[in-house]
Symmetry: C2
C-alpha cells in the first residue's frame, strides 16, 4: 500500500518545516542531533536525509488557521507556528512513548533511544516539549497565548492517556469504554488540538475553535481505530513495524479489547492465549489475530471508525469556512483514518 499524501499536507510542510528547523537549531548540539534523527531529518551520524515525516498534524493546524481567516495567505504565520508546535509535541510523545513501551522501530527506522541511548532520548523529548511551548509564547499575541494554553492542556491529556495505557498493560479486566477513553486522551486530544490551534492562534472566534476541536477529537479516535487495525492486520510496509506487532507486544488495543469483552467463545480463547507466559510464538500470534476477528473485534473497530468519521463530518458541517479549506480537512482526515500514521 503506497499512501497518497494529500496536497494540503505537502503545502503545509513547506511553511511548517522552516519553523521547526529554526526551533530545533536553538537546542544544544547533542540534543539537536537526537531530535533531527527522530524527526526524520538526519541519519544516526547526523547526515541530512530526505524528509520522512508526513506532517499531517501540522497540515491540520495550517488549515485551522485558514478556517479562521479565510484565505491561504492570511494567518499563514499562525498556521505555521501552531503547526510546528503541535508537531513538536507529537514528536516528544512518540520519543518518550517508544522508551516506555520498549518499541524498537519507528517509521521504518530504529527508534531514537536504540540509537542514542535512553537518557539521550528522554532529554531530547523534554527539549521538544519545551520548544513547542516556547514557539507559541514568544509570538505573545492573545491568540498565541491562548494557543499555548490549549497545547499545555492537550499535553496533560496525552500524558493521562499514556498513563492509562501503561496501567492497562498490567490489567486483564480493561473495559472497552475505558479503552475508548484512553484513546480519546492519547490520540484524540492532540488531533483536536491540531484541528483548532491554528484558529485559536489566529485569534479566530471561540465557537469555531470548539467545533474544530470536536471534529478533531472524533477524527482522532477514528484514526486510533484505524491504527489499531493496522497494528494487527497491517503490512510492515504500511506500518513500519513488524507484522502482528501489537499482538506480539500484547497491546490492549481497541479491537483486542472489543474481542476480549465480547462474551464469545472466541473471546475467551483469545484471553487464554494472551495469558500464556513467555514470548508468544508466531503460530499463536496468527491464531490470536484470527480469534480477534472471530470474536467480532475487527468488525466492531471498522464500524466504530466509520461512525466516528461521520460524527467528525457533522462537526465540520456546523461551522462556516471556505469550501477549499473544508475539502482539505476532509481529505486529510480520510487519508489519516485510511492508513498508517
Amino acid at each position: 500500500m503506497s499512501p497518497v499524501v494529500p496536497a494540503a499536507v505537502e503545502a503545509a510542510r513547506e511553511i511548517v518545516d522552516p519553523v521547526m528547523r529554526e526551533a530545533v537549531a536553538r537546542l544544544d548540539p547533542i540534543t539537536a542531533r537526537v531530535a533531527a534523527y527522530h524527526l526524520g531529518w538526519a541519519d544516526a551520524a547526523g547526515q541530512a536525509v530526505a524528509h520522512g515525516g508526513k506532517a499531517l498534524r501540522p497540515a491540520l493546524a495550517v488549515l485551522s488557521a485558514r478556517a479562521a481567516r479565510g484565505g491561504p495567505d492570511v494567518g499563514a504565520d499562525a498556521g505555521a507556528v501552531a503547526g510546528a508546535a503541535v508537531e513538536l509535541v507529537h514528536a516528544f510523545s512518540l520519543l518518550h512513548d517508544d522508551i516506555m513501551d520498549g518499541d524498537r522501530v519507528r517509521r521504518h527506522r530504529p527508534a531514537a533511544w536504540t540509537v542514542f541511548g535512553r537518557s539521550e532520548a528522554i532529554l531530547a523529548g523534554d527539549a521538544l516539549l519545551a520548544l513547542a511551548g516556547e514557539l507559541l509564547i514568544e509570538r505573545g499575541t492573545p491568540g498565541f497565548v491562548d494557543a499555548a494554553r490549549a497545547l499545555a492542556r492537550t499535553t496533560r491529556g496525552l500524558i493521562a492517556g499514556q498513563g492509562l495505557d501503561l496501567e492497562f498493560e498490567r490489567r486483564d479486566d480493561v473495559t472497552l469504554e475505558e479503552c475508548l477513553r484512553m484513546s480519546a486522551r492519547k490520540t484524540g486530544d492532540l488531533l483536536a488540538c491540531a484541528c483548532s490551534i491554528g484558529a485559536t492562534a489566529a485569534g479566530g472566534p471561540g465557537p469555531l475553535a470548539s467545533s474544530l476541536a470536536a471534529f478533531g477529537m472524533e477524527a482522532g479516535v477514528a484514526f486510533q481505530l484505524a491504527d489499531d487495525l493496522l497494528g494487527i492486520w497491517g503490512s510492515p510496509e504500511a506500518t513500519g513495524k513488524p507484522v502482528l506487532s501489537d499482538l506480539r507486544a500484547r497491546k490492549k488495543s481497541l479491537p483486542v479489547v472489543a474481542a476480549l469483552t465480547s462474551g464469545t467463545a472466541a473471546g475467551e480463547r483469545l484471553a487464554r492465549l494472551l495469558a500464556l507466559p513467555g514470548p508468544p510464538a508466531e503460530p499463536d500470534l496468527r491464531d490470536a489475530a484470527r480469534l480477534v476477528e472471530e470474536a467480532g473485534g475487527r468488525d466492531w473497530a471498522e464500524t466504530e471508525a466509520k461512525h466516528r468519521l461521520d460524527a467528525a463530518g457533522l462537526h465540520l458541517d456546523a461551522v462556516d469556512m471556505p469550501a477549499d479549506v473544508r475539502a482539505d480537512f476532509l481529505d486529510i482526515v480520510l487519508s489519516l483514518a485510511a492508513r498508517d500514521r
Copy 2:
C-alpha cells in the same frame, strides 16, 4: 548538621505551596500520585506526609517579585505563581535526571522511579514540565508571558547541561572549563531564572531582571560547587545520599575535574584509580577522596565558590531594592551555598 531554614523560605512556601498543589491536582490520578510522592507531599501509598522539600527556588522567585514592586504584599501573585513554576521545572529535572543517572535515593527517600517504575516517572516529569508553562501562560499578562519565555529558555539550558553531564561520563578528557560551563547550564540557569522570574512576571524593569539573573547565575555555580563538595565529603544526614556517593558513581564533579587536571602526581594517581574496572571498593573511594584533596581539588572548589558568592553580591549591590528583600536574598543564597539542596 541540621540546616537552618531562612525565614523567607518558610514564608514563601506558604504562598507557593497552594499554587503547586492546585496545579498538580489538574493531573490524572496516576501521574498526580507519582508527582505528589516526588514533591514530598505523599508516601508511596499516596498518604499525605509532612512536607519535605525546602523550596529555596520558589523563595528566590517570591523575593524577586518583591524586588520589582517594593512590598511583601505587592506582586504576591506574581511571586507565588512564578515560584511554583520554577519549582515544578526543578522537580521535573530531578525526576528525569534520577532516571538517567540511575540515582536510587532522593531527599532521603527511594527515588520516584524506583517506587513507581521508570515509565511512570518519565511521564510524571513530562507532566510537571508542561504544568510549569501552563501556570505562567494562563495568567496571560505581558509579564507572565515574558516569564514563560524565560522559563522555556531556562529549560533548554537545563537540558543542555544534563546532555553535557551524560557526555562527560563517557569521556576522560573533560577540562575544568567545560565542567564549569556544564554547571552554569545545569544549575546556574535555573537559579538565574528563579532569582529574576518573579520580577519579570510582576512586570518589573528589564535591567532589574537582568541583574537578578546575573546574581542567580553566580550563586548557582557557587551552589553547585558546594553540592559537589558535599557529594564527596558530605555526611549522609546532610545529603540524603550514601557517603562518597559522587565518587562511587565516578561523577566528574568540579573538585574531581580540578584534581584530575591539576598536573599533580596526586591527580595522576586519582585518574588511574577512577579508571579501574568494576564497582569501586570502599578503601579505593576513601583513597580517591584523599587524592582529590591532595591534588588541590577541594581547595580550588572552596575558593571558587567564595569568588562566585562575592561576584553574586556585586550583582545584587548593582540594583535598587528594599533592604529587607536584599537581606533575604543574601540569607537564602548563603544558606544554599553552605549546605545540601
